[in-house]
Subunit: 333 residues, 2 copies
């Protein structure tokens, strides 16, 4: 397969290149594109060192897959034209996620939605991590309500976000000065910022509403009541999510644990007697979403369940999910 990675020098782009190799995606040709500013960078790839080229409007010619991780504006401007050049476009931006004729896919949940589409949207990172755990629970117990509070890492804002957290933490510790904010709205070191993406008229942020909107679409459950509080915290990688659900049918921690243990894309990490539960420390670099702290809550009588997820948002939340979609679209041997 001839594969193009668009936004190759970004945090997600670099992970896509790595994941293609790790999963032995059958790449025969690999083209790397970036903005003119980053063009000329050389990156290690499964096919050896490659130089990143500046994007140009005909860059999709001759490609079987275009994996886009640039920006919503870029995708709105170029994704459909790239698809028209013949390749399948898998877009990591939010540009098309909610368009009726564009599938929004987490393969473990709704691979069938891909159908014959040539443009597929990759979901928001927090959403992808959530639905791999939520869908099997829904299938087993039904789902009435979802409440999520997130613990989101700096890498949600890309490589610049991680660089800023590290540099500003150094500033606080070494210079004793107050941290500065550039990529984030406020200084992130030793702080908590309950604000990711822009505020909507309903006073939720766009990030919080993405979790609601996208989860409903991916799970094919348009009316699912879901409320999210999205919070940036000073971690580098991996989003945590504290999830409370009300189920249709009675649920126990044991039954939920058994369901999640069999769920694709989920790893149950739940041995509290030995202080084993999901954490960024252990979930970083992992493909599976860690699920733990699984317990019945009596807030919803016999229908309440609490659990905690940690997922590497550069992987399941972005690069891995994109490559998994591409894998599902490979021609049958």
């Amino acid at each position: 397969m001839r594969v193009g990675v668009f936004g190759a020098t970004g945090a997600v782009g670099r992970e896509i290149i790595q994941v293609l190799g790790d999963r032995k995606f059958p790449v025969t040709e690999l083209k790397l594109y970036s903005s003119p500013r980053s063009a000329g960078t050389t990156l290690k790839t499964p096919l050896g060192e490659k130089t990143v080229e500046a994007f140009h409007p005909e860059a999709g010619r001759g490609l079987d897959f275009c994996l886009l991780s640039v920006s919503g504006d870029f995708s709105r401007a170029h994704a459909k034209a790239l698809a028209a050049q013949g390749g399948i476009v898998i877009d990591n931006s939010s540009a098309f996620r909610l368009e009726d004729d564009v599938p929004l896919v987490v393969p473990e949940v709704n691979a069938a939605a891909i159908g014959s589409s040539r443009l597929i949207a990759n979901p928001n990172c927090t959403t992808a991590i959530l639905v791999v755990a939520l869908e099997p629970l829904r299938q087993a117990f039904g789902l009435k309500r979802v409440i999520v509070s997130t613990y989101q890492a700096a890498s949600g804002a890309g490589a610049e976000g991680m660089d800023e957290l590290l540099a500003e933490t150094r500033r606080v510790l070494l210079e004793g000065g107050p941290a500065q904010a550039r990529k984030f709205r406020h200084p992130l070191p030793f702080n908590v910022i309950p604000h990711i993406d822009s505020f909507q008229p309903n006073a939720y942020t766009r990030e919080e509403m993405k979790v609601a909107w996208e989860s409903r679409k991916i799970m094919g459950f348009p009316g699912l009541p879901i409320s999210c509080t999205a919070v940036r915290i000073p971690t580098l990688r991996v989003h945590g999510e504290a999830v409370t659900i009300e189920t249709e049918r009675p649920v126990t921690a044991e039954a939920a644990r058994a369901v999640l243990a069999k769920a694709a894309g989920v790893k149950v990490v739940d041995d509290v007697a030995n202080a084993v539960y999901p954490m960024p420390l252990t979930a970083t670099g992992q493909y599976d979403v860690e699920a733990g702290r699984i317990r019945a809550n009596d807030v919803f009588g016999e229908h309440g369940l609490d659990f905690f997820l940690c997922g590497d948002q550069l992987l399941k939340g972005a690069a891995l999910n994109a490559v998994q979609i591409a894998e599902r679209m490979l021609p049958k041997a």
Copy 2:
């Protein structure tokens, strides 16, 4: 008033001394006690520099108020004996919080519970921060269910917790080595640990159950359904709390904001158009609990509300609340 601070060299003890001065508590004599190991330390106090003495069993003699912030074991061993020596004992440990004959008090909520008691328990930090916002909302709209996810700072584990976070963050940034854990169960820098205090048979932690048990007692609402997920994150001071409630009567963000704006101990910090919301950065050192991100959630139809709190857990969560209790117990002039 003759005041003794027991555990004077700890993170909370130091704050108690500061708060006594800031609030002009009528201190005529101040005795500072610690373990033999810390005795001899000199501390700045409202009455000038004072040397900390080693605790001894008769240390309560001649005191009007004994403010204890040592440990549950210490309080179980000594609190009642100190009270028998004549002073009023306000205990920051969890030793007596749930005993029927010991009032558990957040003055803005249940000052009347103090009655004629000579031993008063100061609540868990997360609980104190929560109930100052929860009780006025309950009075205005009724309360059916509470779901809380916390973002708890290293100082919840005392001065050693803060020291460890700073030292280990330095280790990661400067030496490039993996962080170590001593006070915490796992390394805290750039990590998230969904585990505070010991695990209970129901798979909740004791910290999480304290929020349920203590909130019910303080609010006089024994059956309140409440589920908490308590999470340690790499911040130094101030606990954040993402709170979702279902009310008895319909609620709107505007109505809730108006209620919280009038609530004692709460400061509404909720101007999202200008990126103003509660954060550790702004709540550190503040007496009032910051409340913001106030919004209606449709998970509970017209009865759902989400909001975010940040409170300095060394102040409202500990030292300030203890001094506020003492203020209520001063002899009437």
